[in-house]
């Protein structure tokens, strides 16, 4: 089972007296997993632990059943795009990729092909022939990403991969992540651009202050947060009547008309009961319901509820 998962077993990491992460246990299946948390919450530490750049103070980490200490096997399966914005001195993007691939033991011809493929995938183009020292922030991000994916790893760890990218490049990167995920790759992404990552993310790991706050499928996590009523947007022809009907229920704690008067936001503490009643209303024909969509069933909302704007878990 653990041979296709990234597993943290009661992992703690202390930097001297400073807590990195504390007693983290996780089992991450294939797909896109987003690490979410405020600055300094321990996301990068988790990623560094996952890739062996730092060693756990206690506990055990394994990736697809491999130990990060066994570099030769491990890094054939893992690619890590760090957020360290620095590169070996004096290299062009192309040399950087080729050096990296040759260290994997592939032949020069294969390295050439793989490097070309990676450069095309991140759309770096002719800039690959220029020295990295002269790259813009976005180009440096792209070459790091290219280096992480060039050797076709099964696990891709991406620390803030969208930082510094313009909107077009962000969209292209997200499409690439989605494609890689569809192909069965593990993607572990940390990002602050929650709205965009949310679109491709299968599950979320929330962390703050070195402690794991929640993990799992976004919708499941949202449902687990019972003390925060769920918000649902219903588009219909008579929102006032629907609001009045629903607001009569105990579990419906808030109703707010949409600004265009063709929808209503409702907050409920009991989603199952809420949907049952909504069905009944729809069957009665009292209102014509156009669409129903959860309004706070995303990473952003979960972040706000569980971690809050000040970064402390609530």
């Amino acid at each position: 089972m653990s041979s296709d998962r990234i597993v943290f077993e009661d992992v703690s990491k202390f930097y001297g007296e400073v807590l990195g992460v504390n007693r983290v246990s996780l089992s991450i299946p294939p797909g896109v997993t987003t690490l979410v948390g405020p600055n300094g919450s321990g996301k990068t530490t988790l990623m560094n632990l996952m890739t062996g750049l730092v060693q756990p103070s206690s506990g055990r980490v394994s990736v697809l059943g491999l130990d990060p200490g066994d570099a030769a096997q491990f890094f054939r399966e893992v690619g890590y795009c760090t957020q360290f914005d620095s590169f070996p001195r004096g290299l062009t993007g192309w040399e950087f990729l080729m050096d990296s691939l040759l260290l994997h033991g592939v032949t020069e011809l294969d390295a050439y092909k793989l490097a070309q493929e990676a450069i095309q995938r991140v759309r770096l183009g002719d800039a690959a022939g220029r020295r990295i020292a002269g790259y813009s922030k976005g180009m440096r991000q792209k070459i790091r990403l290219a280096q992480a994916i060039a050797h076709h790893p099964r696990v891709l760890v991406l620390d803030e991969p969208l930082n510094g990218l313009d909107p077009m490049a962000r969209a292209q990167s997200l499409a690439l992540f989605e494609e890689l995920s569809r192909q069965g790759m593990h993607l572990v992404i940390s990002s602050h651009i929650l709205d965009e990552v949310d679109r491709i993310s299968d599950r979320v790991v929330l962390i703050t202050g070195g402690y794991l706050v929640a993990e799992g499928n976004i919708h499941q996590v949202r449902q687990e947060v019972r003390d925060k009523p769920m918000q649902v947007l219903i588009r219909c022809d008579r929102p006032e009547q629907l609001a009045a009907r629903m607001f009569a229920l105990n579990h419906c704690v808030e109703a707010r008309l949409h600004s265009d008067a063709k929808g209503v936001f409702l907050r409920t503490t009991d989603l199952d009961e809420f949907y049952r009643l909504l069905n009944a209303v729809a069957v009665e024909g009292l209102v014509q319901i156009e669409s129903v969509a959860p309004a706070d069933d995303d990473t952003n909302a979960i972040y706000q509820y569980l971690i809050g704007s000040d970064g402390s878990a609530s």
Partner: protein, 288 residues
């Protein structure tokens, strides 16, 4: 039972992917040598190595080379080896080259790229050491060869006689051997220091002080010094001047073989400990 165990151990060693490790080490070394020798930031090492060559070249052009000056110039060359190259040139050159290999990458925040490659950390360390050694040896051995040729070429037939039919070639061989050993010895020490300390320079300066006062140390302590082994290999010994000449303890002469083996053993021990340290190395650039 024990022979079975040892056969098993031997078999497990032979089963290791030596071919891949060699390939990776070669590629890593090539990257490092390129960066060590073909970067404009390396010009100061060229300066350290070749400044005596330039001075000797000026000597060749402007001074008359009488036969009587040959012995004097031979002593000067020995002094340059003993007091300039060993104590200053190779010392600071190796300090720059070898402390950059690991610590420099940490300062530049680029070491993680190597640690994220599918390369055993020991292979990485040894490849970097080999690359540093190749760079240092190539520069300093070339400089010594040039010094030697330029020093004697001005003497014409007398110089040729000294080199090819006298002790000249033997001395050249010894100087080149000393350069190789000095680069390996100081290289290993500075590589280790750079892994142990965020700023290895104070420790390196202590090493410099230790090497300077080493001749006055008891015989046992003299063995923990690169310069003491090299002193025994010098074809011509130039006595130190000042207070050190008075304080120097005369130790029993050591044969060249023992001195070479002793130094290589020192290098081996230091590298083995460095391998242990790199296994535990963590990337924490924020503390650099």
């Amino acid at each position: 039972m024990s022979s079975k165990k040892s056969v098993g151990f031997l078999a497990s060693i032979l089963e290791q992917p030596w071919g891949l490790w060699t390939l990776q080490a070669r590629r890593l070394a090539r990257i490092e040598v390129r960066r060590n020798m073909l970067s404009w930031k390396a010009t100061w090492i060229y300066f350290l190595a070749f400044i005596p060559t330039c001075i000797i070249f000026i000597h060749l052009l402007v001074d008359r080379h009488t036969t009587t000056a040959l012995t004097e110039d031979t002593n000067v060359l020995a002094g340059i080896m003993q007091f300039y190259y060993i104590r200053l040139g190779v010392f600071f050159g190796c300090l720059g080259i070898f402390s950059r290999l690991i610590r420099g990458e940490m300062v530049e925040r680029s070491l993680h790229f190597y640690l994220l490659a599918p390369v055993r950390r020991e292979v990485l360390l040894l490849a970097k050491f080999i690359a540093g050694s190749i760079s240092a040896i190539a520069l300093f051995a070339a400089a010594v060869l040039a010094d030697f040729v330029l020093m004697y070429v001005g003497f014409g037939p007398a110089g040729q006689e000294y080199i090819f039919h006298g002790p000249g070639l033997g001395q050249l061989e010894a100087y080149l051997g000393i350069m190789v050993l000095a680069c390996l010895g100081y290289g290993a020490v500075f590589l280790l220091l750079s892994m142990m300390f965020k700023n290895p320079m104070p420790a390196a300066m202590l090493v410099m002080g230790w090497e300077a006062i080493n001749p006055v140390m008891p015989s046992l302590l003299q063995k923990i010094s690169v310069a003491s082994y090299l002193r025994h290999l010098m074809p011509i010994t130039i006595p130190g001047d000042g207070i050190f000449a008075l304080l120097t303890v005369q130790t029993e002469p050591v044969s060249a073989g023992v001195a070479v083996l002793g130094l290589l053993l020192l290098v081996g021990v230091v590298l083995a400990y460095s391998c242990v340290r790199i296994r535990r190395l963590e990337i924490r650039y924020t503390t650099e």
